[in-house]
């Protein structure tokens, strides 16, 4: 486990602790019958998250002395072929999160069908650096997929709020 991973875990635990404490405080105002589960889940989470925060602070302080050798990773963590958390990978994650937010903004403005075409086209050209021909075929395929499910099966797609097309 790298130092960056310990810091990330600490930040995540601290954020979730704040959420769990707020969740529990809000639950105290509920009707008695609606309160049991939220108070129990929120209260227990708060206590356990506090323990994790303390543990991660201690781990961070001992990082230079004690390596993460005794630390058991969970079943899902860092699979074969993947690297651990690095500044480069975090920046890449932020960049791709930006693409997703951009896609949502397009959906918000133009609706899903147009946004999907714009997003797939620009992503394939700018990020994947695919040829114009491949990009055009891909955009057409996405449009066809959305049309088939929207028209024949009758799925409703989100329409643009400001520019419904």
């Amino acid at each position: 486990m790298t130092r960056a991973e310990i810091i990330l875990r600490l930040v995540l635990s601290a954020v979730l602790l704040a959420v769990a404490v707020s969740y529990t405080i809000i639950a105290l105002d509920f009707h008695e019958l609606a309160r049991y589960a939220p108070v129990a889940a929120g209260g227990l989470s708060s206590v356990l998250l506090l323990a994790v925060v303390v543990r991660e602070v201690v781990r961070l302080r001992r990082y230079d002395v004690v390596t993460a050798g005794s630390y058991s990773r969970s079943i899902e963590h860092v699979e074969e072929g993947e690297e651990g958390v690095t500044t480069k990978s975090l920046l890449a994650a932020v960049r791709y999160a930006g693409w997703i937010v951009g896609f949502l903004a397009l959906v918000w403005f133009f609706g899903l069908e147009v946004a999907a075409a714009l997003f797939v086209g620009s992503f394939l050209r700018l990020d994947a650096e695919m040829s114009w021909r491949f990009t055009a075929i891909s955009v057409a395929a996405v449009m066809l997929f959305l049309w088939v499910f929207g028209t024949i099966i009758g799925f409703e797609w989100p329409e643009g709020v400001y520019f419904p097309l």
Binding site: G42, E76, V120, F123, E156
Partner: protein, 497 residues
Amino acid sequence: MADAALSALQNLATAELILHLLLGITIGLVIGLLPGLGGVVGMSLFLPFLFGMDPFVGMAMLVGFAAVGQTSDTYPSVLLGVPGSAGSQATILDGYALARQGQAARALGASFSASMIGGVFGAIALLAVITVARPLVQALGSPELFMLTVLGIATVGVLVRGDALLGLLSALIGIMIGTIGGAPATPEYRYTFDSLYLWDGVPLVAVAMGLFALPEVLTLLVHRIRIAGRAELEDGLFEGFRETLRHKGLVLRSSLLGTGIGAVPGMGGSVVDWMAYGVAQQTARDNSQFGRGDIRGVIAPESANNAKEGGTLMPTLILGIPGSGTSAVLLGGLILMGLTPGPSMLAENLDVTLTVVWALVLANIAATTVCFFLSKPISRITLIPAQILAPFLLVLFFAATYQSTEHWGDILSVIAIGLVGFAMKLVGWPRAPALIGFVLAANLERYLHLSISRYQYEWMTFPAVLTIGALVVLMATGGPIFRYYQSSGDREKGTAS
């Protein structure tokens, strides 16, 4: 009974019924391929067409759809690491790990063959217990159902390797998300922040997509890799089939478990795959590869997942109590076709009930055959580089997510939960327990409330409650304790050598 069963088989052997069965299978296959669209959403699409339809024809189509949905939902689970439906969540752990090792075809081969055996097992079990199941199902009250729900959450202790604290926390976070919306016992809307969207809670599709789909796509993009780490796919389709036959004991145990849990109303399909996975891991002599690509981690949940369909139909047909979301839609379909689910399905409509059983058998065999032969071309998706695959997946995920309630909130929920899910993946927090906690939160609260309302605290001394309680303790602590002693033993061996 044997005459009636034979007569029902003859009823089914008509061109019209077979055609409708195949129609249901075809549509189910397409829908099942789309992450998050299987199960309830997909089946709901059928309801408008069922009004006034001949019961035999309608049931054949619905059962065909339900059976293939539980089989083809394995594709997204294994190939993309995204649950195709609620019942294929546990398959991700080892199925996706195998796909990343270039063994997608082997995982799919094992999965489909296990699904078929499980599905046929469930149908035979339905036939066998159809006349004796009623008193058994009625014997389960809210305290026992509450304890069975707790048992589902206790599988966390088995599933999480290493840090059980994080596993428990993850489950609690899932429960917290699950308590958003209306309280089961009183007209109070919790954590809605004046948003109408949150009144019904966060949809399962949004939570599953957020926890698994977005983090996986982001990870693939960040590391610029294919789903399959290797450029070549191993030719393991028939090897997977042979693996299933090799682990026939596991298939039968998981099928039995799936049928049993499926028969409990309200437990439904969301937990059965996890339980089967947990039991398989717990009882395996060498479980060191579970979560890293152990074929048994695919066989167990898939057998149980399909077997549960037969079990779920028991309370649905016999008592008129839907055992899961899909059986609730099936129940609606029965009513639309002019049938009355309940005891009458064993008397005046026994022929329809038995047709359902045979349709289930045939649909499972046909669905498996179709999926089996489509596996090789479909599994090639894992060889496509992330940069090309990702934009299509993102469009698909958001389009599928939007279908759950057709509200913008679905998409925003996926983003919010997806960011938390990605952070959890980065720092090694297990995400699967969060999904279990979320799925079981409503039942947990409802059954606890009913138990206390009816029995105060006396229910805690019920023999069935105590028995399941002992199982809960065993499930929650057995795994970590076993692994502790196993690692102690390994350390001692290492020191000695």
